[in-house]
Amino acid sequence: MATAKHWSGEIHALLRAWRADLVSYVPDAGHANLIDLCRADRATRTVPLATEEEGVALATGAWLGGTRHVMLMQSSGVGNCVNMFAMLKTCQVPFLTLVTMRGDFGEFHPWQMPMGQGTPGAFALMDFVVLRADRAEDVVPAVEAGLKFSFNSYNRVAVLLGQRLLGAKDFRKVRE
């Protein structure tokens, strides 16, 4: 993932510029650099989650208290969240999540396919704005649009970071 470092640094800078002071995550390889950057940065409070729906409730409490939260997760985690997303809709809580895709372009792993392909539909169930980045140069505009759609115009927003950007992992190869 030679280019990964580059765009994750840009995302981190954007999160700081927007004062997204709380970042929660369930790890995914595609988010590893960004998680490290957030954890190394003293201005960002990072919350490792045991399961993704925790981050949705966390975002609601943080917003009640005046703090902006962003959640990092893998596409599989989206399926864990749907009922909790309903609270965001009912209470009109702004929400931004950055989702590293699996079951996407070039996927090797059959167990990742259903939820990866189902991810946009799961977000659609709760009226999310869904943005996508498939090339390094798409990342900053997509995340910036996501920050605006959530914290300026109070939407639920997902930015999908596609496998063309992240690279697909082939378990039969030694190298990732």
Binding site: L22, R45, V47, P48, L49, A50, T51, E53, E54, G55, V56, A57, L58, A59, T60, G61, A62, W63, L64, G65, G66, T67, H69, N83, M84, A86, M87, T90, C91, Q92, V93
Partner: protein, 193 residues
């Protein structure tokens, strides 16, 4: 001894001043409303399994204020993993109180896992809570209340209560309104930025 839920909640919310309260769906939401509805209450009407993490978000965003989550054993069982997440953060100003009637009261009194051996304070302790108690006497509540209101460190308490049903005292149910009123109370003009 099993305690009375309304008496317990009334005692915990006595002289509450700047205390923020999140209640899990159902009876706990009616209990905090019976003790007096205020913009500093966020009663959930749904989002089962979300109460403790809403409390964590609020506690991290408002570190100067004490935050109390009051929820049912059924609601707590649905978000058991959040106890590990919260203990890892260890906010000084957060307390979780479970009103444990050993039932899903709201849906027809089906037994929960706490009736079958699940020990919530032991689970909290195992997740990393240094203070996790099982409360069995009304006389223990004033000290618990003072610790919560005084932000005396992250804590968990389970209180066994009788399964009695009370008349529903309903808070406003418009979630957007409940959110706005707390944000305005906490943030003033900043709530609309």
């Amino acid at each position: 001894m099993k305690l009375d839920r309304r008496e317990v909640v009334k005692e915990l919310l006595t002289e509450r001043r700047d205390l923020l309260v999140v209640a899990g769906l159902g009876a706990c939401a009616w209990d905090i409303t019976a003790a007096g509805d205020t913009p500093l209450n966020f009663p959930l009407w749904g989002a089962m399994g979300g109460a403790t993490m809403v409390g964590l978000g609020l506690a991290l965003a408002q570190p100067k204020r004490p935050v109390l989550v009051i929820t049912g054993d059924g609601e707590m069982l649905m978000s058991m993993s959040s106890l590990a997440t919260i203990a890892a953060q260890r906010p000084e100003n957060l307390a979780i109180v479970v009103l444990d009637n050993e039932q899903y009261g709201e849906t027809g009194h089906q037994a929960t896992h706490t009736a079958m051996g699940a020990d919530l304070p032991a689970i909290a302790r195992g997740c990393g809570f240094r203070k996790a108690s099982a409360i069995t006497k009304m006389s223990a509540l004033p000290a618990l209340r003072r610790a919560i209101h005084g932000k005396d460190g992250l804590q968990f308490a389970s209180i066994k209560i009788t399964p009695a049903d009370y008349p529903k005292v309903l808070p406003p149910r418009d979630g957007a309104w409940l959110k706005h009123r707390m944000r305005v109370a906490l943030l003033g003009e900043r709530a609309h930025e």
